[in-house]
């Protein structure tokens, strides 16, 4: 509950987000904490309904009624060194940060682009919003450079294209280019390659890695694809039903998973390199967050459920350095 440590760019603590709907209160995010260091990539991984998207939307202050951020801090170190709480700053300061210091890439590239404006205009707009003094020619040069960096061929021509004139892969690359217009310190990418072909996906992921190195950018990657996590992330947070159930270095979580959910998740994903006889699957379904299960939220589906799991929620405890799990099996040891 203090300020940022050395090298930390973003620290979120105890985030709670609820949605007040006709069907009841949805406890979408219940006490999520994570941090990102400079030039680091973290992954928020989990299935639908685990709260990973809501978490990042909350940081971006995109949560609208009936959603409400009940509690939490999101400390962010700005370019000038100042540390602010993204959840509490005023609208004008937030506007300055968005698009400039924190950039967002959302899942569907088609809806992120205004069909009535060219790609060039989108870049122009983003740059102009934060650097009103730059002139048109400089912005144009910058736009061409950005499109080249995201491996879009003939960028001079593409600048004049409208979104519908580009393929899905090019659109997503354009969206990434736009988000990078102002050299952000932090890029939040929500399932950036989910709808794309595998061969385009690999290009974009490689691209993100290079850009990260070049811009010393931090990356928060949200995905449900364990393969992408293994390829891209330094550290990973496994989320379930609005909580973080396991966190740690990517090697720790993949090679030494502690939480039953993580273990099952890793085994439910077919590994293309191995011939598998039978996939394991997780029985049951993701709980409705209007009435989350008592105690540990995973207990109704957990093959190792104990009595205490039904009554009390486990807290995150350290298993090894940097590796934490919220599970009574581990705490009991």
């Amino acid at each position: 509950m203090t300020g940022l440590r050395e090298g930390e760019v973003l620290r979120v603590e105890d985030l709670h987000v609820r949605f007040y709907t006709y069907a009841g209160v949805v406890y979408a995010v219940s006490g999520v904490s994570f941090y990102v260091m400079e030039s680091e990539t973290i992954a928020l991984v989990g299935e639908t309904g685990c709260g990973k998207t809501v978490t990042t939307r909350a940081i971006a202050r995109l949560v609208e009624p009936p959603g409400r951020i009940e509690r939490g801090v999101a400390l962010f170190r700005r370019r000038n060194g100042k540390v602010v709480d993204l959840l509490k700053i005023g609208d004008e300061e937030l506007r300055q940060i968005r698009g400039d210091e924190i950039a967002y890439v959302f899942q569907d590239p088609t809806s992120a682009l205004d069909p009535l404006y060219t790609i060039g205009f989108h870049i122009h707009e983003t740059v102009k919003a934060h650097n009103s003094k730059t002139n048109k020619k400089d912005i144009l040069k910058r736009a061409i450079k950005l499109l080249k960096e995201v491996a879009i061929p003939s960028p001079e021509a593409r600048i004049k294209n409208y979104p519908h004139e580009l393929s899905g892969g090019m659109r997503q690359r354009s969206v990434i280019a736009i988000s990078l217009s102002n050299n952000p310190r932090l890029l939040i990418a929500d399932e950036p390659t989910t709808n794309l072909d595998v061969t385009i996906q690999v290009q974009i992921l490689e691209l993100l890695k290079e850009l990260q190195k070049a811009y010393k950018m931090s990356l928060i990657l949200i995905t449900h694809n364990m393969g992408i996590v293994a390829e891209m992330a330094d550290r990973v947070y496994v989320m379930y039903a609005g909580k973080v159930v396991e966190e740690g270095l990517v090697e720790q979580v993949f090679y030494n998973p502690q939480h039953p959910y993580t273990k099952l998740l890793l085994r439910a994903v077919p590994n293309p390199l191995k011939k598998i006889e039978k996939l394991e699957y997780i029985p049951g379904t993701v709980p409705l967050l209007t009435n989350p299960p008592h105690g540990c939220r995973f207990h109704p589906r957990c093959p190792f459920v104990m009595d205490i799991c039904r009554k009390e929620e486990p807290q995150l405890v350290g298993v090894e350095k940097g590796h934490g799990v919220a599970c009574w099996l581990v705490t009991k040891k």
Partner: protein
């Protein structure tokens, strides 16, 4: 959905107005305390345009005054409600039915059929409805009148429907002629709207699955496509009822509809126009407000229905209670 609807103040108000409208239209001709076919003035010349008499300053005269024949205008409006409602409902329902079926066929079959039907729709849409109504008014009423003269069942039926006496069959013929004219211009709008929805619905996988289940084209159209494209049409129908009411009143106002002594709202306003404003302002204002309320009721209802039927705006409605 009913819950969401009840949360919409507009919807509730509109619903109440419409309900009143329907009730009055249903029982109007029965509870009217003055028959419309009696020209009171013949008996008592002083009654012509007896100005409105608002309590407490008056006694004995009709509450809102009389028209040029000395008839109590409130009593006349009770007949008028029925006529307006019948015309608007039948025109819209008939027009919508035709339009929906044509749109369904056009959108689903596609190809040449679609092109032909669309051109046909273009032609009908291009008709100036007024000119059409005038043309019909010149020819049709005589024909229908002749038909009604001989066919006593038809005569009795239509008279009961409109709440008029059988003696007025000539005027009923005029009403039916307006009917035809309106239906002809009403159906193409529905065709367009339905066709659009059908075009997107027919690409849905559940339609392909229905094909694979061996269903015939007609079954697929009516069992699978139709129920899924009706939502926007329902809203359109409610708005159209308002429009049709006013349009029918307009046609009567222009003299293309029934004549004396049928108390059609538009026609009554038109007659009052000769003496406007000194002697008949109360007539014009009263009938005008009646038409306004009828149309308003349908419009408010349609607005609320539109919000309720769209799942996104329905959520917003449900929240207002929180």
């Amino acid at each position: 959905m009913a819950y969401a609807f009840s949360k919409s103040k507009i919807g509730v108000v509109g619903g109440i107005i419409v309900l009143i409208n329907i009730i009055v239209a249903a029982i109007g001709p029965f509870i009217a305390w003055e028959p419309y076919w009696e020209y009171k003035i013949v008996a008592n010349p002083a009654l012509q345009y007896a100005p409105p008499c608002l309590p407490p300053s008056c006694s004995g005269g009709p509450l809102f005054g009389t028209d040029e024949w000395g008839r109590d205008i409130i009593a006349m409006s009770l007949y008028g409600f029925r006529i307006s409602l019948i015309i608007s409902v039948i025109v819209v329902l008939l027009g919508a039915s035709i339009g929906i079926v044509v749109g369904l066929v056009s959108g689903y079959k596609g190809g040449v059929v679609d092109e032909v039907i669309m051109r046909l729709t273009d032609i009908f849409l291009a008709f100036p409805s007024l000119v059409l109504a005038i043309a019909f008014a010149a020819v049709l009423p005589q024909r229908i009148r002749g038909f009604l003269e001989v066919n006593s069942f038809a005569r009795a039926f239509f008279a009961a429907l409109f709440g008029l006496r059988e003696n007025e069959y000539a005027q009923i013929a005029a009403l039916i002629s307006i009917w035809f004219a309106m239906v002809l211009v009403w159906w193409p709008g529905y065709t367009r709207v339905i066709r659009g929805s059908v075009l997107s619905t027919r690409e849905m996988p559940f339609i392909e699955a229905a094909k694979l289940s061996g269903l015939s084209t007609w079954k697929i159209m009516f069992r699978h496509v139709l129920p899924n494209v009706l939502s926007p049409v329902i809203v359109m129908i409610t708005f159209d009822l308002a429009t049709a009411t006013l349009f029918a009143a307009t046609l009567s106002f222009l003299g293309l509809g029934p004549q004396e002594p049928v108390p059609e709202l538009g026609f009554l306003i038109s007659k009052a126009g000769y003496f406007f404003p000194e002697r008949s302002w109360h007539v014009v204002i009263y009938y005008g407000v009646v038409l306004l309320l009828i149309a308003l009721g349908w419009n408010l209802l349609g607005d609320a229905l539109r919000d309720v039927l769209d799942p996104r705006t329905r959520r917003a409605l449900e929240f207002r209670g929180e």
